[in-house]
């Protein structure tokens, strides 16, 4: 195993780690940092469950090498609940009944959060396109789209 030292920020906290050069960011987040809200649904960038924000952009962390995260600012679902309060996006998902089993939810929330932070306006069609890289088997996407619309309002 070839290891490399990286340092990055995860949910606002500085982290220094020694990582296997073959490891994905997903592996490191789950296994080393115990951020198990980052879900592993396929490991090959198909389902979107492992989406995290890297410098504000949504990425499938399963196909992003951990070594590439050196110097980056990473946000996971664990960082969204602050001071006893859900984020606006999280609250919209709760209010609209957009969560069933919850496995795909962190990924959807992170992508929607990136959209919210962009400050741009999105039509319903654009929201659908932005979220099309996430798979959900429970909800038929209806309430997820509604929740995203609600979170991106005003």
């Amino acid at each position: 195993m070839i290891a490399k030292k990286i340092s990055c920020s995860v949910n606002g906290r500085k982290v220094a780690l020694e990582v296997d050069v073959r490891a994905s960011l997903l592996d490191i987040l789950r296994d080393s940092l115990h951020l198990t809200g980052v879900k592993k649904g396929c490991s090959v960038g198909e389902c979107g469950a492992c989406t995290v924000l890297i410098d504000g952009e949504p990425y499938d962390s399963c196909i992003y090498l951990a070594v590439w995260a050196d110097g980056k600012d990473i946000n996971t679902i664990e960082g969204e609940y602050k001071e006893g309060k859900l984020s606006k996006v999280q609250q919209a998902f709760v209010d609209e009944g957009a969560v069933q089993c919850g496995f795909c939810t962190p990924g959807f929330i992170m992508s929607t959060t990136a959209m919210a932070q962009s400050g741009r306006k999105f039509t319903r069609e654009e929201i659908k396109r932005e979220l099309s890289g996430h798979m959900c088997r429970c909800t038929g996407y209806q309430n997820i789209i509604k929740a995203a619309q609600k979170a991106l309002e005003d």
């Binding site: 396929c42 009944g97 099309s132």
Partner: protein, 644 residues
């Protein structure tokens, strides 16, 4: 080194067998037996209701048709995974993503040949199941392996590719219908033959096709029925439970067949169905299931209105362009649980805390469908407290939670719900009896409303529930905390109904089907939680659309290797493929249910595929009797029929 040398000297000759991937191949004369002595047949069954020949002799016309469905995978977003370790006393602890923790415990005990009490199964949050986790797949192996490594933890987590081929899939079933009908459109009898394709191991085996044979007879009135079914072993992945348990398959065959008969008789397909539906009061003579309620005629009326059926039918002329629109509908019926074929028991336990809030333990399994939420609502409603005073233990632990057979057959709200209701009623009764000790007021004059003890006749508040609860713990003479531990053994079943109405646009040039509108209208009895119930319909319809239009596991016919066991090549619906899904409920009040409710979880997936097929028929005049109706299949067929 010697071993390496020896290895080089060994010559292996492989005799390559043709993979058995279809029912025909499995049943062919001289086919290789996957399990010796079985002739590749897992089981066969048949039943007769009335005299088929006599009934068919009265028919004016007889219609015969064949249908087939595809092998699909539940695709829960969380793959199958479990870990096991041994605790200090040598017991095996299995933590697993399962729908059936209590059954899992028994199967692990049986597999390892150890007393079941030495196995403890824990079910944390589950990332979806849809039936594939209503089976024991990875658990016995990790339970065994931990015993080999001195009790250290052993984990087995499937990759997505493994989940596709090594967990469970939905049985592909071939159906052959023969139905006799009177000139006026009354169905007199039908014969249904079914061949169900399983994999190399039985899993739920023949039960799925048997279930399709049972449910199809509850929908339409007939004097005689003959059902014959065979389930075969093949080299396909093992098939097991998947949302609907054989019913999406049979409803596809049945309600396409009904559509074709109505059209052949030049009858309105809606009127044809309404004429033949079993009515309220229908009693199934084989199982004794009674339809105390049947809201299907109203569901059809609502669907017709939502999609503006009559209006659209009236203006639709002969279409000639490349894009053609059509309307379609289909019905289904379903049960709640498996009684009387199987025992249906469910446990619930309630302990009232000193502050009047309660701890609720159920053996039923939350896996995203919202059962924990509705059980909390039920306990709150029956006791008379706000729902935030109910603390439910969501994690299943066979060490702690009461026995329940689990999440399947859309049974929990109906069967486990009754256990919760009985336990909550017992708690309320104990509270009011204790009030008598404190106030001398007879229990029958009291009630609990919003966590207050009140007079029943005028609702006037007497004292907070918390005061009674606390006294129940500390009364010097009569301390007896309020607890209940109930098992409900259901001796009933209830039929739920519903229908799908849809409008599609078929592009003849590409074979692509766009779903313009789709509505599912359900009679699931009283709706306990409208938002969650709608969510179930959305998800079920979405799965049904995938079943209709896209999903199919494909195998190399030469080698049997899976060709699309991943999310890139197996077409799962995304946000881009999803039309708006309209939902309607016709609420009946089921007398055998705890709160008037009937089954809700599986039903939404049952009627979208035949409704889409009937809409494509309406648009193009072409009958597609095979699933899925993907562009490839449509395009080839349109070419063959000279439409393009």
């Amino acid at each position: 080194l010697t071993a390496v040398k020896a290895l080089r000297l060994i010559e292996v000759e492989y005799e390559q067998y043709e993979p058995i991937l279809t029912a025909e191949a499995a049943l062919r004369e001289g086919a290789i037996e996957i399990h010796e002595g079985t002739k590749n047949i897992i089981a066969q069954s048949e039943y007769h209701l009335g005299d088929l020949h006599e009934a068919l002799a009265q028919a004016d016309e007889i219609f015969e048709d064949e249908f087939s469905t595809s092998t699909v995978q539940p695709c829960a977003l969380e793959n199958h995974s479990a870990y096991a370790y041994m605790d200090g006393s040598g017991r095996i602890v299995v933590c697993t993503s399962t729908q059936i923790p209590h059954i899992c415990r028994r199967v692990v005990g049986q597999a390892l040949g150890i007393p079941w009490g030495r196995v403890r199964v824990i079910k944390p949050f589950v990332g979806g199941g849809f039936g594939s986790k209503q089976d024991v797949v990875v658990e016995p192996l990790v339970a065994f392996l931990t015993t080999v490594v001195g009790g250290r933890p052993v984990k087995l987590a499937f990759t997505r590719e493994e989940t596709f081929v090594a967990s469970r899939v939905r049985h592909a079933i071939y159906f052959k219908f023969k139905t006799g009908v009177k000139k006026d459109g009354a169905i007199v009898a039908s014969a249904l033959k079914a061949v169900s394709v399983n994999g190399g191991y039985a899993s739920h085996g023949h039960a799925i096709v048997d279930n399709s044979g049972e449910k199809f007879r509850h929908l339409y009135d007939q004097q005689a029925i003959k059902f014959e079914a065979t389930t075969v072993y093949t080299n396909m992945p093992s098939a097991g439970a998947m949302r609907g348990y054989g019913i999406p398959q049979v409803m596809f065959a049945l309600d396409c067949h009904m559509e074709d008969i109505a059209r052949a008789l030049q009858m309105d397909p809606l009127l044809f169905r309404l004429k033949n539906l079993n009515k309220e009061g229908y009693t199934d003579t084989l199982l004794g299931i009674v339809a105390h309620t049947n809201g299907l005629p109203e569901c059809i009326a609502r669907g017709r209105q939502l999609i503006r059926w009559d209006e659209k039918k009236a203006v639709r002329r002969r279409q000639t362009g490349s894009k053609r629109r059509g309307l379609g509908m289909a019905c289904f019926c379903y049960t709640a649980g498996t009684y009387p074929l199987n025992l249906e028991i469910a446990g619930a336990r309630i302990v009232m805390n000193q502050d009047g809030s309660v701890q609720l333990q159920v053996g039923a399994v939350e896996m995203g469908q919202g059962s924990d939420t509705v059980f909390s609502q039920m306990a709150a409603e029956t006791i008379g407290i706000p729902v935030d005073m109910v603390h439910l233990i969501s994690e299943q632990d066979t060490e702690i939670t009461p026995f329940d057979t689990g999440a399947y057959a859309s049974r929990q709200t109906y069967i486990s719900g009754m256990a919760v209701k009985k336990a909550a009623a017992e708690i309320k009764d104990k509270v009011l009896r204790h009030c008598r000790v404190m106030t001398d007021i007879p229990p029958q004059d009291l009630d609990i409303v919003d966590a207050w003890i009140v007079y029943q006749h005028n609702g006037a508040r007497i004292m907070p529930l918390a005061e009674v609860a606390l006294d129940g713990y500390y009364n010097l003479a009569h301390a007896a905390p309020f607890t209940a531990d109930v098992t409900n053994s259901a001796g009933t079943n209830a039929l739920s109904y519903g229908c799908t109405f849809t409008e599609v646009e078929v592009d003849l040039a590409t074979g692509k089907v766009e779903v313009l509108e789709i509505y599912n209208v359900h009679d699931s009895g009283k709706i306990i939680n409208p938002q969650l119930a709608e969510g179930q319909v959305h998800g079920g319809v979405s799965m049904g659309l995938g079943y209709a239009l896209y999903e199919q596991m494909i195998f190399d016919p030469g080698t049997g290797k899976p060709l699309n066991n991943n999310f890139l090549d197996y077409k799962l619906i995304t946000t881009m493929d999803t039309p708006e899904i309209g939902v309607g409920f016709v609420e009946t009040d089921e007398p055998t249910a705890p709160y008037g409710n009937k089954s809700m979880g599986e039903p939404p997936v049952m009627s979208p595929a035949p409704a889409i097929r009937n809409a494509i028929l309406d648009a193009t005049g072409i009958k597609f009797n095979e699933l899925p109706m993907n562009p490839h299949r449509l395009f080839e067929r349109f070419k063959a029929e000279g439409l393009i």
